[in-house]
Subunit: 264 residues, 2 copies
Amino acid sequence: MTIVVKVGGALGNRLDPVVSDLVSRTDYVLVHGGSESVDRLAEALGHPSEYLTSPSGVVSRHNDPAQLATVVMALAGTVQTEAVAAFARRGVRAVGLSGVDGRLVLAERKHGVRAVLGERVVHVRDDWSGTITRVDGELLRGIAGLGCVPVIGPPAITAQGEIVNVDADRIAAEVAVALGADALVLLTNVPGLLRDVSDPASLVRRVDRSEIDAVLPFAEGRMRKKVLAAQRALAGGVGRVVIASSQVDGPVSHALAGEGTVFS
Amino acid sequence: MTIVVKVGGALGNRLDPVVSDLVSRTDYVLVHGGSESVDRLAEALGHPSEYLTSPSGVVSRHNDPAQLATVVMALAGTVQTEAVAAFARRGVRAVGLSGVDGRLVLAERKHGVRAVLGERVVHVRDDWSGTITRVDGELLRGIAGLGCVPVIGPPAITAQGEIVNVDADRIAAEVAVALGADALVLLTNVPGLLRDVSDPASLVRRVDRSEIDAVLPFAEGRMRKKVLAAQRALAGGVGRVVIASSQVDGPVSHALAGEGTVFS
């Protein structure tokens, strides 16, 4: 069984339980994001992150050149290196790969991102965001064949060799599709998809693939991206997708046991 | 023939001629440093780099925790990603590997670095510098076997999973030894080892391995590390080492043709 697990940032203790839970397994791949690490570094460098809201309500980072450079430092640099070291401390060899490495995650640059600004919809041009067109599953199998766990994160690369930022949940979905994964686990800081974000008891436990459009209205902000990633993964042949909490002991085991929102 | 080429930072145009010169070849590995990128980022983050001088005159970065974090962002993040993208733009698949990835560069942490402070020699304790104990040539051959050029840089990792900074010239030497390389090319911003640093005409053209100790007094600052790296590589079985300029068209070809200081 191949599983793909996606976690957020590597901010200390958040990553450790995930890595601890994974090391007894084989045949898994870890995908990481790290928005908070990017935001923190951007703040320290004096150019705080800006977020854009699309007309359909998806919130995304504004990847101007300074922000893109920060993404590279925080994700391909800090988060990825710390994740690989966390595996090493537990005796597991891992190799960090951004989407640029070996052209693992190929993307097309979005030309002119549309964003809602007050009551207007504007075109944002100085943005290096991309849409994933292909993940190289062969390269991932090759790395695994060398005895190393792939640890994957943004950015991606275009066919012309431009570095572009892409959503990490979407990378995880495309990696799961490229590997023909049995399960995709998207870990987050809430128990799963909630009907009411202020009420953990409103957890949606099971979602059939035919019902995803019906639950999408409950998914706001970053959760919306996770549900869209789940939809993409299922459409691409992944067996099931679980959105679950990273804030428990053994978060991957719990998610695979069905604790969270299971899409199938 | 296997060659190992080491360049400094990826600050724009400096890396491009090296990559252009390499892409027509096969069977090479690129090692990068990037001190200037680290210094620039450290400055932007408000904790400028500090350098320590050992009693024997070797100048090294003081790798306190903030500096080590900066090294990871600048080298494993920015420089490595930009180098891999520079290959991609020329149609070559490369994979960036810090010494942490797959435990490629294993090191022992130096406990208590000795440094000259005024007229005293002090022990600097909050330092995460390492001494390389092993480079995993098998992993590098594996990556090459997947059709990818390894692009390697600091930091390294200890057996306990601590991230430590190590000298990039020394990584290059140990990579060359691990691969049984025919040649190691150390590119820099001067034509090679100069008897008088202010006079390019004072270039030392040939150094027999038995004469290295005799020329070491000419090598100051970072050049000293390059000469010591050359000595290590030759002792480890590398055919020849060339210290040469990166500031010419076709810097690798020129170096391999003997333009620079050739140690053999």
